[in-house]
Each structure stands twice: as C-alpha cells, then as structure tokens.
Symmetry: C5
C-alpha cells in the first residue's frame, strides 16, 4: 500500500512538526513566557512553515478546530498521555481521546505513545493495534511514539533497542514513528532501515545548545529520517522563528 495517509504532513517528502503537549506531559513550567498560550504556538507553527502541529484534545478543541488554523496547518492529535505528577518506573500513557473524536476535531493523524520494556507494554501494543485500525478505517494516519521506558530499560538511547523499537513501529502498522536519537548517524541509519516504509521522525527532547541540536538534525536527515518533531528546542529558544529557519534549511534543503 502506497502510504497516502501520511502525505498531509510531508513537503518534499520531509516533515517538520511542532509538538505542543508539554502542558500535559511535563507541566506548565515547560511552557516559558508566551508559550503558555496555545494561540502563540499555533501562530508560530504557521509562520514557521511547520508541516504539522501536535496537540492534545483540549487544545485542539478550543484553539484549532473550526478556526482558520485548521486550513493553514494539519493536526496530529496526541490521543494518549500521562502527567508528570506521579512518576513511575513503568509509566503508562492513557487514552483520553477516541480516534473518531480526533477526526471530528480536524486531525489528519493520531499520535499514540508506546513504552517498550515496560511491564504494561502488552496493553499498549494491543491498544495501538486497535487505534491503528480505526485510524485507517477513518482514513487518517496512525503515528507511534515508540519509546523505551520501563523497568526493563537501563538506557533509553541504546541503539539496538531503538532499532528494535523502530521495527516494532513497522510491524504494528504505524505510518510514522517518533523516536529518540541513538547517538550517531550510523545508528540512526539502521533505525531508518529497520522501519522500512514507516516514516521516521526524531523526537526533539529537552532544550539543548543550538549547535548541538542542529548537528543532530543534520545527522538524522543524512541518515534518511523524514524529519523531526520539535518543541522545547524551538519555543524555549529566545528567537523561535530564527531557530525554526535553521532547522528548516537542514530538513528541506538536504
């Protein structure tokens, strides 16, 4: 099957996604300054030329659905999530939005986190299975956050495990996976190879030094990644549009 479902998020076959679920996953302290305001972020996403924006249900419903933003930038609705209030060794990200509702809110894709190496891994694999089918039946894409987190994981950046996680994304039918950086371009190349026809985007992670972050972006693009999903490295930057432009050049001119 040629994957048309992921096309809305691609430009020249590359993706630059703006993630904004930190208010749920990390807490408001991650949303410095203006970034506490969803409209500020949506404006940034449009002005910055992002190929998609990632929101939780409530932000999508109150700030995106049935607004002009819906015409300007496609939405990935993150349909599961966990808070940072009671951290656990084996975290579970619970489903708070149905695929149907995501589509009603204008989403062209749903996002779902699977924690591998976790004692509730089985439950998440099964739930993603259902979500993937429902998404495809409704003609939208299913994107998996394939992370390594749980009591079986010592190093969530282990290249072999990240490669395995990428393969699981393919085997489960994800149209795209969002994945951590395994440390080197060479290891990321294996990740992309294992993922096959499933697109791979880098998970941006916490704020880094500009150059450090941009080198990673270069590395994963050279390794064949489709792009990145960035959040704090842009909206915690003193000049988010400037940082966006730097990233954009790497992704789309490569």
């Amino acid at each position: 099957m040629d994957n048309k479902l992921i096309q809305p998020f691609l430009k020249n076959n590359k993706a630059m996604l703006l993630a904004y679920d930190h208010g749920f996953e990390v807490g408001p302290e991650a949303l410095l300054g203006k970034s506490i305001d969803p409209e500020y972020i949506l404006d940034l996403a449009v002005k910055g030329g992002y190929t998609g924006v990632i929101l939780q249900k409530g932000i999508a419903e109150k700030y995106y659905a049935k607004t002009d933003y819906q015409k300007k930038i496609p939405l990935i609705l993150k349909i599961n999530g966990k808070t940072n209030i009671s951290p656990k060794k084996d975290p579970f990200s619970s489903l708070n939005c149905s695929v149907e509702y995501a589509k009603e809110l204008g989403a062209k894709a749903v996002g779902y986190t699977i924690y591998l190496g976790n004692n509730q891994e089985e439950k998440m694999l099964a739930e993603f299975g259902q979500i993937q089918e429902r998404a495809h039946q409704l003609n939208i894409a299913a994107i998996a956050w394939t992370y390594l987190r749980g009591s079986s994981i010592e190093n969530e950046y282990d290249p072999e495990l990240i490669t395995y996680a990428a393969r699981i994304g393919l085997e489960l039918g994800a149209d795209m996976i969002k994945i951590k950086y395994p440390g080197t371009e060479e290891s990321f190349r294996k990740v992309v190879q294992a993922a096959g026809k499933t697109k791979v985007v880098l998970s941006g992670g916490p704020k880094l030094e500009d150059n450090q972050f941009l080198e990673i972006v270069e590395s994963i693009i050279r390794a064949g990644a489709t792009g990145i999903a960035v959040g704090r490295n842009v909206f915690q930057h003193e000049d988010p549009l400037l940082m966006t432009d730097r990233i954009k050049k790497i992704i789309f001119n490569s």
Copy 2:
C-alpha cells in the same frame, strides 16, 4: 471553538454554583439542620440567585428532574463520587451515572473528579476522556474537579501542582474546572493563565470564618477566576442567604 456549552452557568461571564453532594462524599453529618433536605437546598439555590446547582444522580432524579426547579436553575450532575467510609491513600471516585442519563435528568453539564498524583490517575484520565466526548456529542458541558490527592501528593494546595492540574483540565478538554485555592492571588492568577479558555471556579471546601472565606473569593475573582462552587460555607452558615449575598457581590460586581 467559542464555548457555548458553559454559558448556561454564567451571568456576566461569572459563575456562582451551589454544590450539594456532601451527603455522598462526606456523609450526612455535613448536612446540618435543614440542609439534610434537598428541597431546602434547591430553594436556597433559587432564592440566592445561584447560576447552577451541583447534585448527584439520585437527588437530581427525585427532587429536580421534571419539577419547576428545572426551569429556575441549571443543573450540573456530578456523575462520579466516592464515599468517606473507607478512606484510602489513593482514592478513586467511581462513575455512577452515564452522561446520557444525566442529560435525561435535565443536566446542562456533567461533573467528574480526577485525582491527580494518584495511582489510579491513568484510569480517571481515560474515563474523563470518554465522558468529555460524550458530553459534547450530547451538547452539554464537561466540568472537571481537578484535585491533587493520592500517594504522590504531599500538599494538595501546592501552587505549582494546582497550576499543573489546571493545565491538565485544559489539555483534556474540560469546559470548566473546579480547583482548590493555592494560597495567594498571585498563584491563582497563574492557575487561570494555565487553564486558558477553560473556565476556573474555586472549590469552596470546609466551613471557614466568614471573612476568611470572603477574602479568598475576592482574591480569586481579582485573579481572573470565573467564580466559585460553594457548599458548606453557605449551608452550614447561620444565615445562608446573607452569606450568599456577600459572595454574590464579590463575584458579580467585581
């Protein structure tokens, strides 16, 4: 989406709600004197000019639905609840009414408690997700009681956590949240900011000294709150209508 669903409970964009679920959550000893009688409370709600009343299913069905009260004051049906008989470190408030049934009983909103920092947090996040969708499909509002209670919580009035809880209310798509007082006007201002387009009302809590309570009301109104949900501070007061008038002045004349 401009939030029309919460409008029935607003007057000049402010809310003064009378909560009456203490017979379930606290026990009859909270219902001193006449307040054991639901009709007394409903009369008080109407006479006092409250913009909404909060009831559990049984009271709504036997005292409110298909009565004149239904025309006089809108209903928030609290659809989950727990008793105080076997207190737990990680309490769970179980769903005892469907959204459909709440609507049949005349409710214009459903209320649902989420205990954050609780080892069953995941289950409540998921359940609220379903309730929020069903409520909106049925064209009624979804209101979250976003409280911090569970084995991960040392201080349920921690300003940072309350701000985080407020944000979770927004991210989950609550139309309004009911939340504890974090101690200062300044901290409540952050709560309101984090909640964005989700309305914020104060949870009244146990009976306080009149002035102490009224100062809190003033503080949260100055901080941008939509209003309060009050119970014992009114109906355990020697003159509930007098106390109501004092609160009303603060909320609507501010």
Copy 3:
C-alpha cells in the same frame, strides 16, 4: 419525580416483603423443613398477604414466571449475590442476572447489594449506577441493599454509618433501600430522614425471639420506615402465618 415505580410493592404506603434468597446467600441449612421448597414459600407469601417476594433468578424462572404467582404477588428479583462458601473480609456480590432478564421473568423491581466500607465498594457503586438506569429505562424499580461490610467496618450496626448508607441510597437513585437495624428508634428516624424520598425497609436478619423481632418492627415503623423485608424470622418460625399476622398488624395498622 413522584415515585411510581415502587408503588407495586406498597399497600397504604407500607411494604411487607418476603425475602427468599437464603439458599444462595446462606446455604440450604437456612431453609429448614418445608422452606427448602420454593412453592411452599410462594404460597406463604400469597396467603400471608406480603406485598412482594424477593427471589434469585433461578427460583423466579422455574417457580414464579408464567405461573399464577405472577398475578398474585409482585417480584423483586435479586440480581446479585454471593455464596457463603468462601467468606471474605471484603465480600463481593456478583451480578448473575441482567435487568432485562429480570423484567422478562416478571420482576417489578431489581435488588442489588452494595457493601460499603469494602475495598471493592467502588465497583459496586458503579455497577449499581448502571443497574439503576437500566431499571428506570425499563420502567421497574431499583432497590439497594446498602450494607456495611468490609475491612473498613468494625460495627455493621453503627448508627452513623447506617445513616450514611441510607443517604448513599438516596444519592445513587435507589427507589427503596434495605438496611440493618441501628439499635434504636431514634437512630432509625435519622436513617429515614437521610434517605429522603427513598423508601426504607428493614432487613430482617437471622431468627430472633418473637417479641424481640416484633419490637424492632414497631420501632422502625414508628420511626417512619416503609416496612420490612423478612425471611428467616417468618419461615424458620414454627407458625409462619401467625408470625406474619403479627408483623402485618404492626406495619399496616400503625
């Protein structure tokens, strides 16, 4: 809502119910002599002038449904139950009959036990919530056995707790509650008051001395109870019809 659903079980607004689920809950040793035979009991219920009979599904299906008894005495189908074979500190009474099936078997009400102060309390509150709605949709009454049993309960006859249990019955929308005797008329008066528009019947319990039992019945009737649900105090009596007459006089002539 004026409660028409409970009317089939009332005569002069009072109820005298014959309970016969002991074969399930206690074991056949509670069914001395002829009382092992359901037809004997049904005859007794009719001859004694009971206003209702309480049966588990199997007895109802094989001895009551589509028989003449159906025309002579209304049925409360007890839809959950537990055996006495493996007693637990926190007992759970599992649902063995749907509300729909109860209605098919001719029931005008369903009965459901909630053990409060029990570590599975949450599950029972939620399940009763669903049953209550289904019963009302099908136009039959929902009756709650609101008992205090579980690891949080030291004394299941504690007046304050029984009053609380009664209130929970009202808040959950029970049309009638079956409840233990808290020891005094005065305390039972508070129970009745807390229950509001929910009817209150006494749970008869194990066999007592005649006078002791009859005094309790007098006490609860004076306190405003609707009546009793009696079992062993009648059918373990040497002259069940005589005992029935004595009870009847107290309930209906009061």
Copy 4:
C-alpha cells in the same frame, strides 16, 4: 416454567450422558487406546444409547456438526475449560466458546463449570449468569458443573457443601447440574431435594472398579437423580458397551 429445554437429553425422564472433554481437562493420557479418536467415541455414544454427548468446541466442529451424528445424538457443548498443565489452588475454567457458536454447531445445551469455594468464584457466578440468559434466549439448555474446588475447600466431597452447590445451581437457573458423589444415598437425596426443579446428574470421575461404580449409580438413582455423565468409567473399560449396558439398566429400569 415447565422445563422443556432439558427434554432432548431425557428418556423416561432419565439421562445417560457420555462426557468426552478429557483431552482438554486431563490430557491425552486419559484417552487410552481407541478413545483418542473422537469418531470412536461418537460411535460408542450412538451404539450405547446415550441420551447425550459432551464435547468441547473443536471436537464438535470437526467431528459432529453437519454430520450424521447430529441426527443421532444430542450435543452438550462444554463452553469453558481449563488444562491440567499448570494446576492451581484456585483453578479457573475459561470460556472458549460463545453460546451462539455452540448453537451453530448443533448443541442443544451448553455446559459451564463453576468452581465454588474458589477465589474467582464471583467471576464464574457472573459469567454463568450471562450464559444462562443467552442460552435461554436461544432456546437451549444451560447446564452447570457445580464443583467445590479452591483454596476454601478442604473436602470436595463434603455432603453439606455439595448440597449447597446443588442449591446454587437452582438459584442461578441451571436446567441441570453435574455434581460429585457425596458418599451416601441419603446425602444425595438431600442434594436432589435442594436442587428442586433443576435436574441432577452425577459426575462420573476417574475410573473405578466396576461394582464400585455401579453401586454409586444405583445409589444416586434411588436418591432421585436424573442420571449420570460418564466418561473414563466407560471408555477406559475393557468393554465399554458392556459397561454401558449395565449402567443403562440401572438408570432406565429403576
């Protein structure tokens, strides 16, 4: 309700059933010689004049459904089961066939094991409740294997407990129960009495000496049992048809 559903398995109001689920419950080592072959057993059931045969889903589907056997002998489909591979103190017999599917395969009854005195008793009571209703809606009988097995049981042949188990079968609406031998004719008489309109058949159990087994059959028939469900005492016998004839004489000429 006059019980027509169980009629297909009765001849002169008595039943002689051939049980053949040992390949699942005990393992192939119980299926000595030719008895490993389902067709051998089905032939034996027909030739021996059994009034019913008890099979698990797979054997029914591949050897019975849509074959001539379907016209010659009625089927009880055993819809739950457990293996003997990981024995537990509190065994649970899981449902592997729906009532609908059982009917599609030609079953005139479904069989379901309930282990009483077991820490999962509640779950089995609830599940049987659903099965019983579904069976009756589809116009087939519901048969309960009411056994005493679990951490609360010291002696699964305890006469009082078997009597209690029989009563539970009646209270739950079983059309027939399969039950262990409590040791004496007198105790079995109480079992039959407690079961009321629910038919009682003996569970044959492991291979015994011929006379020992036949005396038990005589005893339970004198006590009022409807008959037996026999397996190993016939097909592990050197001359299964001879043994069948001896049993038949006791059951049908009594």
Copy 5:
C-alpha cells in the same frame, strides 16, 4: 466439517510456510543481511514455492495487501505478538490486529500464540476462542501456535506436554497448529494422532546445521505432519533458495 478453510495453504495436502515475524518477536538482529527488507522475503516466498507466508499486520499492510504478492502467495496474518525487550517468566502475546482487519489485508488465515503452562493461560484460551469463531464466521482459517512457556514449564520440548498441547489445539477448534519438535519421530507421531483433524506443522525455531534441520523435517513428515513453518533456517542460510529446495523435496515428495 471437512476443513476447507485450511486448503489455501496446502499443496498435495502438505504445507511449507515461510514465517517472518522475527522483527517483532526477536528483534532486527534476527533479520541478517537482506532479510531486513520485507520485499526480499516476499520474493523469496514466491520464488521458493512456499504455500503461505506469515506476517504481522504492519508488514502485511505496507508490503503485501493490494500488491501482486497477494495473488501469488496466501497470507497467514499473525494477530498477536510480544517483543523480546522485557522477557518474562510468563510471557503474554497481545492481540494487535482484529480478525476483520486481517481479512481486509488479504489474509486467508489468522495465527495466534497460546502459551500453555503460563499464569495467563486462561486469558489466552479465552481470546483464542473468540478469534477462532470470528475467523470461521469470516470464512478464514484459525491457526494456533500452541507453545509451552511459562512458570509451570520446565522443558518446552517435553513430548507428553507437546502431545497435550496438540490436543488442546484440536479441542479449541484450531484448523492448524504450529508446534515444537518433541525430539523423536515416534513422539511426533503421537502429537499428530492427538491433533486428529487439526493439521500439524513444525515450528522451525532458531538456525540449525543444515543436516540437523533437514533430518527433523524428514522425521516429522514421516510421522504424519502436514509440513513446517520455517524462518531463520531459510533466510539466515547463505543460500535460502537452495535450502528451500531441499526442504521442499522432503515435504512434497514424501
């Protein structure tokens, strides 16, 4: 019932299946060289004359469904699976694809792993029960991987247990079982006998010496097996087509 559902995978009543779910179950390190690429494997399956290919949902959807492969080789969709990231004493293979979706992707059979001797055995027996029914209703075959793995199993190659597992496959209604090699031809013969009308294929397992593997294939074919499901012993071989030819001769010329 004559088993037509399994026919698509048989040639002269024998089966040679290519299994390719190792990217999920073992990890990408099992997919040496070209075998990381699903198209390479699908080409191999077609060229090698395999009678079926076994894939997880994602590979089927992106590489097989609606491609020419669908016309060239029938698909068994493996609908449950577990990862190797957090190994457990009692592994559970979770369902990640519905039977309906498998059929939409072109599958002619679904595959499901049951771990016997496992503390979650009950759950897997029940789930397979549902899958088997749904598959047959949709007119496709249900294939069980009946493995012995869990805290009750000391030796997963124990001949008696494998024979028992085979019988369970029959009793549950599997159309085919995939099973481990119990060590000898004689023991495999008992496996085949216990399975009755359920077809038996050998699970290939990890890479062995050529001769060692081929002798096992010869042994199981002589014992009456229907064939094998091979993976690593072919695609980790230096000349997969050569190895395929050797296997093919044994299976189809026997």
